[in-house]
């Protein structure tokens, strides 16, 4: 009898130790399990598979697939496109974020919506928009033909498509960071005699440094990995207008085992890029969170007994 009572009391106290808002352990572990299983099946396994397939014909074949001329051309083109689009998007992103964070003006929310447009438009549609604009039958088609400028099915078209798709990344990352930083540091720089440019270079830019790098990395990953929009504008001229993702697709269409393995070799480079991006992203998120914490700290009111005059007197 006594034992019974005791056990019951124990049970009660156990139940109490769990907060009212918490689920039972069974539900908790079931949810965690589902999430883990999902990640494994849909993310981890395919990734491992890419590397497994790439190496299925041995290391030598793997590297041969990478250094064959068309692969090198694709890699070169991808680097070129990223090399053009990322800096341009950085300039644009900084300007846009600056405008959003530091000024109030009419049409601000419209501009923010516009910046997000590439997120909501299917990349294929984005590619088609440019074909409609710059293609032979397109709006500027005649003008371009007369002046012998090639955009569609050429490198400029690929750059344009990539620009469009990667457009929001830098701006989107910077706007909240710049808003959080506020304008006081910049005003302080002005009162100390710094020009607008020097203020920007020495104060504004360093204080959003991590956010900017974060944006650049995401932008770069997308610029190198974009398929849809680029596919529409590229024309798939092997060795000339095929970026890495397009070249992977072409190789895969080859249907021989060797070309499939080659496709996976090139794909593994893109997967590697994704992994590096992920690692950098995690690092930068951590860095930014710490930075933010510090910024909060350095604004907090001073604590009792930490300062000044009285201590100074004691010293003398």
């Amino acid at each position: 009898m006594a034992g019974n009572v005791k056990r019951k009391a124990n049970g009660d106290s156990h139940r109490k130790s769990r907060r009212g808002t918490e689920e039972s352990p069974a539900i908790k572990w079931a949810l965690i399990g589902v999430a883990m299983a999902f990640c494994t099946v849909f993310l981890l396994l395919p990734l491992v598979n890419v590397f497994a397939q790439a190496l299925s014909f041995g290391v030598k074949t793997y590297f041969q697939a990478l250094i064959q001329p068309y692969s090198l051309a694709a890699i070169r083109l991808t680097l070129l496109v990223a090399g053009i689009t990322v800096p341009l998007n950085v300039v644009f992103g900084v300007c846009a974020a600056w405008a959003m964070a530091k000024f109030n003006f009419r049409g601000k929310s419209l501009l923010i919506t516009l910046i997000d447009l590439p997120f909501s438009v299917s990349p294929v549609v984005a590619g088609l928009m440019f074909v409609v604009l710059f293609g032979l039958q397109g709006f500027f088609g005649k003008f371009l033909l007369e002046h012998n400028i090639r955009i569609v099915f050429a490198v400029p078209g690929i750059v344009l498509a990539t620009m469009f798709v990667t457009f929001p990344f830098v701006a989107r990352e910077l706007i909240p960071v710049m808003q959080a930083t506020g304008t006081e540091q910049e005003q302080a720089a002005l009162t100390l005699g710094a020009s607008g440019w020097k203020t920007f270079w020495h104060v504004s830019l360093p204080s959003v440094k991590w956010g900017l790098i974060y944006g650049i990395i995401l932008c770069n990953a997308r610029a190198m990995g974009e398929y849809g929009a680029v596919s529409v504008l590229s024309g798939h001229i092997i060795g000339r207008t095929e970026t890495m993702p397009l070249w992977v697709e072409s190789l895969y269409q080859g249907q021989t085992d060797a070309s499939t393995a080659a496709a996976f070799s090139v794909a593994s480079l893109l997967a590697l890029l994704a992994l590096i991006t992920l690692a950098l992203k995690t690092f930068l998120e951590w860095k930014q969170a710490r930075e933010y914490e510090r910024a909060q700290q350095s604004q907090a009111p001073p604590m009792v007994g930490e300062t000044g005059f009285l201590m100074r007197q004691d010293v003398r």
């Binding site: 006081e184 002005l190 005699g193 700290q297 930490e306």
Partner: protein, 367 residues
């Protein structure tokens, strides 16, 4: 004159944040801009700095009209409310920033920074970043940075803003000491009247964008220019009386008003210390009951209720209180020694006089 403002108005979207303000600050003075929040004092400070441009009116620094000069050209030191230290730079770089911008020689920058680090008790901290400093150290870095290139004026926006009482006292004393040592013209913004009165040479009082009074702390306390100043600076008993046959009445209280016609409404104010108290019920003209005693440390605040229901506030030391043998509920007699007329006819504040202090009209001093 170090700084002169002449008829300065600043409008934000049609609303005058600062309305036709004129005052001057002497070289080497420690001046407080005081007022409730939204009074326009920070806007005035920012206009002196050049962070805001006046809509109309002129700002002069050392005789030079600076309206068309940018912040960079005005040679001012500005300390922001949250200090606004460059968080990506260490203490040394923060202090040296302005000097580098002004193209000082490396050796000179080093010497000046060392001098400031020593003056502000920051030696050894030059490699620290703002987040590694205490609040007081941060403020010292901010002031050192502002003073580095020897500005003609030091401007501080709510320097003791969100700081607890004890540290605020220390920072105040530190500012006074600094001002003594460097003798640089200093203007600071505060909403705390006690703070302004305690440390400044002179106070400029603002409310709703208008300048209410300029004067030494004692002057604005003892001779407030209008009702706003009277009630904003320190505690004041305010009574709405009506004149009848040369006497202003409210309940049983009477104030002589010889030259005032019948029916004139007078607003009369007096400080708590002007209320004299005696336990001898026949000594003073008014009877009252002590309702509440509040302990404020050395001083006590007393609330007396008159038979008509009026409540008057008074102040005395613990010793006086003990000597009189007072306690809540005790009946006493009162008199009011000094009072002044704050307003007439309920028409609001008396007409404004800028620049020069004008004592408000008084009828008579009672005793």
């Amino acid at each position: 004159m170090s700084i002169v403002l002449k008829n300065v108005t600043k409008q934000f979207g049609g609303v005058a944040a600062v309305n036709n303000v004129s005052f001057s600050v002497n070289e080497g003075e420690l001046m407080a801009l005081l007022g409730p929040s939204g009074g326009g004092k920070t806007t005035v400070l920012r206009m002196i700095a050049g962070l805001e441009m006046p809509t109309t009116g002129d700002v002069f620094i050392r005789g030079q009209r600076v309206n068309d000069l940018s912040v960079q050209e005005r040679n001012i030191g500005f300390v922001f409310q949250n200090y606004a230290l460059f968080k990506n730079m260490n203490v040394f770089k923060n202090i040296a920033f302005g000097l580098k911008i002004k193209k000082w020689k490396r050796a000179d920058i080093k010497a000046r920074a060392a001098e400031l680090l020593k003056l502000f008790q920051l030696d050894g901290l030059e490699k620290r970043y703002p987040h590694q400093l205490s609040g007081g150290q941060r403020q010292r870095v901010a002031i050192a940075r502002a003073l580095a290139s020897k500005p003609s004026v030091l401007l501080l926006d709510e320097p003791f803003g969100a700081v607890d009482a004890k540290i605020r006292q220390e920072l105040r004393e530190e500012l006074v000491k600094l001002h003594h040592e460097l003798n640089v013209t200093t203007i600071f913004v505060t909403h705390d009247q006690e703070e302004a009165l305690e440390i400044s040479n002179r106070v400029v009082i603002f409310s709703r964008g208008r300048l209410e009074q300029v004067g030494a702390p004692r002057e604005v306390y003892e001779q407030p220019a209008n009702e706003f100043v009277a009630t904003f600076i320190g505690v004041m008993n305010v009574l709405n009386t009506e004149v009848k046959d040369g006497v202003a009445y409210l309940g049983e209280l009477q104030f002589p008003a010889h030259d005032q016609p019948n029916g004139t409404k007078l607003r009369i104010g007096f400080r708590p210390y002007a209320v004299q108290v005696s336990t001898d019920l026949t000594l003073y003209p008014y009877r009252a009951v002590l309702r509440h005693t509040f302990f404020l440390g050395v001083m006590l605040r007393l609330e007396f209720e008159l038979p008509s229901g009026l409540t008057l506030r008074s102040r005395m030391t613990k010793e006086e209180y003990a000597q009189l043998g007072l306690e809540d509920g005790r009946e006493v007699s009162l008199q009011i020694r000094n009072y002044r007329v704050l307003a007439r006819d309920d028409s609001g504040l008396p007409p404004e006089k800028e620049f020069k202090y004008q004592p408000p009209p008084t009828i008579a001093e009672h005793i």
